[in-house]
C-alpha cells in the first residue's frame, strides 16, 4: 500500500471551453426570439381559430412551447450566476485578499457544479421548447379545407421534415456515445475524429 501522495486534480472547467459562452448566447438571444415568436403565434390562434384544423390542440402546443422557452431563459439566467472564472475573482479581490482565501474562492468549485446542473436543465427546456414550437407550427399549417389546402399540406410536410431533423439532431446530442474507448482514441490519425 504505497499510495501516499495525493493525486493531482484539475479544476472544473466547461468543455469545450467556449461552451458556457455558446450556451449563454442560446439562452439570451435564441430563446427570447423563439419565445416571442411563439407568443405572437399564440395571439393569432386565440383571435381567430376558424382557419385551423385542430384549434384546441394547436393552442395547447403553442402555449407549452411559449412556457418552455421562457423557462429556458429563466433557468439559464439562474444557472449563469454560478459560472465565473479566475478573472472575475481577480476583478473583485486584490491579490492579497485572494491569498487570504475569501469565501468566493472556496465556493468556486461548488458553484461550477451548480452551474452544470442548472444549465443542463436550461438546455433541456430550450430543446423541448424548440421541438414544441416546431410541432405547433406544423399543426397551425394543417389545412382545414379551402383553396389553399394543397399548398398548406406541402408546408405542413416541410415543417414535419424540419421537426424530424431537429429530433434526430437532439437524439444525436443527448444519446451519443458515453465515451470513446481510451485505447482506440489516441491512435493512427493523431486524435482527429
Amino acid at each position: 500500500m504505497e499510495r501516499s501522495k495525493e493525486p493531482y486534480i484539475w479544476p472544473g472547467v466547461p468543455y469545450p471551453l467556449g461552451y458556457a459562452e455558446a450556451s449563454a448566447a442560446t439562452q439570451t438571444v435564441a430563446a427570447p426570439l423563439l419565445a416571442g415568436a411563439s407568443l405572437t403565434l399564440l395571439g393569432v390562434v386565440v383571435v381567430d381559430d376558424s382557419t385551423f384544423r385542430w384549434p384546441g390542440a394547436t393552442l395547447l402546443l403553442v402555449v407549452s412551447a411559449s412556457i418552455t422557452l421562457i423557462a429556458s431563459i429563466q433557468v439559464g439566467a439562474d444557472a449563469r450566476r454560478f459560472l465565473y472564472n479566475r478573472q472575475t475573482l481577480e476583478a473583485w479581490y486584490t491579490e492579497d485578499e485572494l491569498k487570504r482565501g475569501p469565501r468566493a474562492l472556496a465556493e468556486r468549485e461548488k458553484h461550477f457544479i451548480q452551474w452544470k446542473i442548472r444549465n443542463q436543465r436550461a438546455v433541456i427546456a430550450f430543446n423541448a421548447g424548440t421541438m414544441l414550437l416546431i410541432f405547433a407550427i406544423t399543426s397551425v399549417l394543417v389545412p382545414s379545407g379551402g383553396d389553399l389546402a394543397a399548398w398548406r399540406w406541402i408546408a405542413t410536410g416541410l415543417a414535419l421534415l424540419g421537426a424530424l431533423g431537429e429530433a434526430w439532431w437532439m437524439y444525436h446530442l443527448f444519446f451519443r456515445e458515453f465515451r470513446k474507448r481510451p485505447d482506440k482514441q489516441k491512435s493512427l490519425d493523431g486524435g482527429t475524429k
Binding site: 493525486p7 484539475w10 472544473g12 430550450f126
Partner: protein
C-alpha cells in the same frame, strides 16, 4: 463539430470531465445517482461496492492510470475536487485494489 453544436437549433448538453485523467464523457446525472453512491459506500460491503463500480461503467470512463478510476460517472460529474478526493479515500478504505 463545435460550430454545428452552436449553430444548429438543438443545444448540446453539458459535457463532463474527470479531474484526474481529463477524459470527457456525456450524460445527465442527478442528486439521486449521487445518493445511491453514498449509500453503497456507507454499507462498507466490498463486494457490493465492486459490483456498483462495475455497473456504473467507471472503467469505461477513466484512463487506466487515473487515480480516480473507481469513481462512477455521476460522482465525477457532480463532485468538486475536494469531494472527489474524499470519495476516493472512502473507496480505498474498503477496496485495497484502488
Amino acid at each position: 463539430m463545435t460550430l454545428y453544436d452552436v449553430t444548429l437549433p438543438g443545444e448540446p448538453p453539458v459535457a463532463h470531465m474527470c479531474g484526474g485523467c481529463e477524459e470527457i464523457f456525456h450524460g445527465i446525472f442527478g442528486h439521486g445517482d449521487l445518493q445511491k453512491w453514498y449509500q453503497t459506500v456507507e454499507r462498507r460491503d466490498a463486494e457490493a461496492l465492486r459490483l456498483y463500480i462495475q455497473q456504473s461503467r467507471a472503467h469505461e470512463l477513466h484512463r487506466t492510470a487515473c487515480a480516480f478510476r473507481c469513481l462512477p460517472p455521476a460522482v465525477v460529474a457532480l463532485s468538486t475536487p475536494d469531494q472527489l478526493r474524499a470519495e476516493l479515500r472512502k473507496v480505498q478504505a474498503i477496496l485495497p485494489e484502488y
